[in-house]
Symmetry: C2
Subunit: 356 residues, 2 copies
């Protein structure tokens, strides 16, 4: 039975990425060595990381004057690296969920943190708007997509101060105007590759603002100067990221990907609205994510939730359980989830409606 | 042609590890999902990390009261995490090479660093002895094996203060008395698995000494409490580490491994001494590593070095170039290098002697 993996992350990856990575682990490009065994200073790996960097720049149309890094430690380490490098006096943060809150907590170690907007009071059901960005903040930090609640900031906002975004769960899902950002970071394990890699895209001029002594591994300048090879990176992870970037380019790049993502999300949201058993859970309609779709059973059918979970599972759909703070279901329909996967879920919802 | 990979790291891994990891990337345990796609909170990955932890404890005979962690960022991040957690007043370091020097540099950010012994003056040709360990130091930091020079501390020393060791390049090469250490860390990419994973073995009671506020990702206590799953770990990397631990156990554990390593190193060192073209490069005889064997051509044959490099390379031997600070050759003969690989190198040295 074909499995459909709706996990929030690590999550579904393109079959192309999976196959190419498995092949390279057995024998990289026919050189008779495993991808896991080659030196990160070898010409083979040098080609991998250079291509991954270039393809990321190409696909996201990264402007001149920006660097792309492939580091370790996930978004969780970025929560600290960002303020350690750039919070000299005070920073502004928008609180849109658990992950944004974690970023805020880590930043407080380095200086004053001004939470200029939050939707915590309504269980993070929306992306706050109409907030004032203090012109004297060192930067503004946002989280572009919130996996738990299924909310997403679907545009590139204007900020009078350097804009820093955690785009872990929606990077590469749509064209982005990178020039509006000073720094974008994203754990790879949703739309790019396996866990253990975090992608950082940053404006080089930002590095001049760094004043604090810090661990060398925290220093973006060191990583930029060493082109992600200050220390041994996750070679397997970066290779897999490159494969996804190749797949994405072949598929038509971010415009084509975005169109497909809108279709997938549209199909599922329409069914949630139509089906008499289901209803959107927490996300405000305008802020609904095209990556993580959260839904529950209507209060009067609440007791049927385990039954639907089982029903979907028996059809090969896994990872549909909603986060405990929201309940119900969450379908993570990242780039690699094919249209047919969403169709299968929608069909299961329809069948369930007819059978119950 | 069979390739023999003498790279210093990432380096040769057991064929078992390579094959099992490639299989799991295609389809983990037949569940129809890739190892790269499963949630780190899934029951499948939970079994992987629990087994990896237990096997590491079993193979290294880790005593009660210790934790084993699988983290990200390599030894380079440990250089900062160790002093951030444990350097409250002053720490003692032994300087045995470039990597030890890097650890020293990072520690200085957190307090007084007392370099109690160094072999820098003689290009790190030896492991210093006869140094006094200050009883008021928060800890003593050592590097057990120095890949560049091919020197190794082959015993578990006694220390009146907590002993912390970077054992990146010789962990699992011999039985170790873990009870003598407060903390051992090791980048996986020599004797354990692919790059992107660092193993930390630490005495839980040490965690009571932590006083400094720090990034959550730096906090060993957080990682211990979350059993390496505070954030998303390198799932592929940890799976591969588990395979190597299974392979090592099947092979007879550390006693058998150590015996084989002594035989391999003995064979190569004997040939270096016998062969009229070669000579040990920098390492003092008593401190010669059984993991990294460094040698050069005798001064009068110096110009033949590129020729031997090519000769070995044409026989499938790669990664033999010595580090630029030592020159000549370096054969890294980690656990996964079979006896036949060392034999092939020795045969090449003999043939070269006869042909030139």
């Amino acid at each position: 039975m074909k499995k459909y993996n709706f996990s929030a992350g690590p999550s579904i990856l393109p079959e192309f990425t999976v196959k190419k990575t498995a092949e390279a682990i057995l024998n990289l490009d026919g050189i008779g060595l495993s991808l896991m065994e080659i030196s990160h200073r070898s010409k083979e790996f040098d080609a991998v990381i250079k291509q991954a960097t270039e393809r990321m720049k190409e696909i996201l149309s990264v402007p001149e004057g920006y660097s792309v890094l492939f580091l370790q430690g996930g978004a969780s380490l970025q929560f600290s690296m960002v303020p350690c490098n750039f919070l000299n006096t005070k920073a502004a943060y928008v609180d849109t969920g658990v992950w944004a809150s974690k970023a805020i907590k880590e930043a407080k170690l380095y200086g004053e943190v001004n939470v200029i907007a939050s939707s915590a009071g309504s269980n993070y059901d929306r992306i706050p708007t109409n907030y004032a960005i203090p012109g004297d903040a060192d930067y503004l930090h946002i989280t572009t997509n919130n996996t738990i609640y299924g909310t997403e900031l679907k545009k590139d906002i204007d900020s009078p101060v350097p804009l820093i975004a955690d785009a872990s769960s929606d990077i590469l899902s749509r064209p982005m105007d990178v020039s509006k950002y000073a720094l974008i970071y994203a754990g790879a394990q949703k739309n790019i590759g396996p866990s253990g890699v975090v992608v950082v895209i940053l404006k080089n001029s930002l590095l001049e603002k760094v004043k604090r002594p810090m661990p060398t591994m925290f220093n973006y300048k060191v990583h930029v100067e060493n082109e992600s090879l200050y220390n041994t990176p996750s070679c397997v992870g970066i290779y897999a990221c490159l494969q996804t970037l190749i797949w994405l380019k072949d598929l038509g790049g971010l415009k084509a990907m975005h169109k497909l993502n809108l279709e997938k999300a549209g199909l599922l949201y329409d069914e949630i609205e139509r089906n008499r058993y289901f209803v959107s859970s927490v996300a405000n309609t305008d802020d609904r994510s095209i990556m993580n779709v959260t839904f529950i059973m209507k209060p009067e059918y609440k007791e049927l939730e385990p039954k639907f979970q089982e029903f979907a599972s028996s059809r090969g759909m896994i990872g549909l359980k909603g986060h405990r703070s929201v309940g119900g279901f969450r379908a993570s329909i990242y780039n690699a989830m094919p249209f047919e996967g969403v169709k299968a879920l929608v069909d299961a919802m329809k069948e369930f409606e007819n059978q119950v």
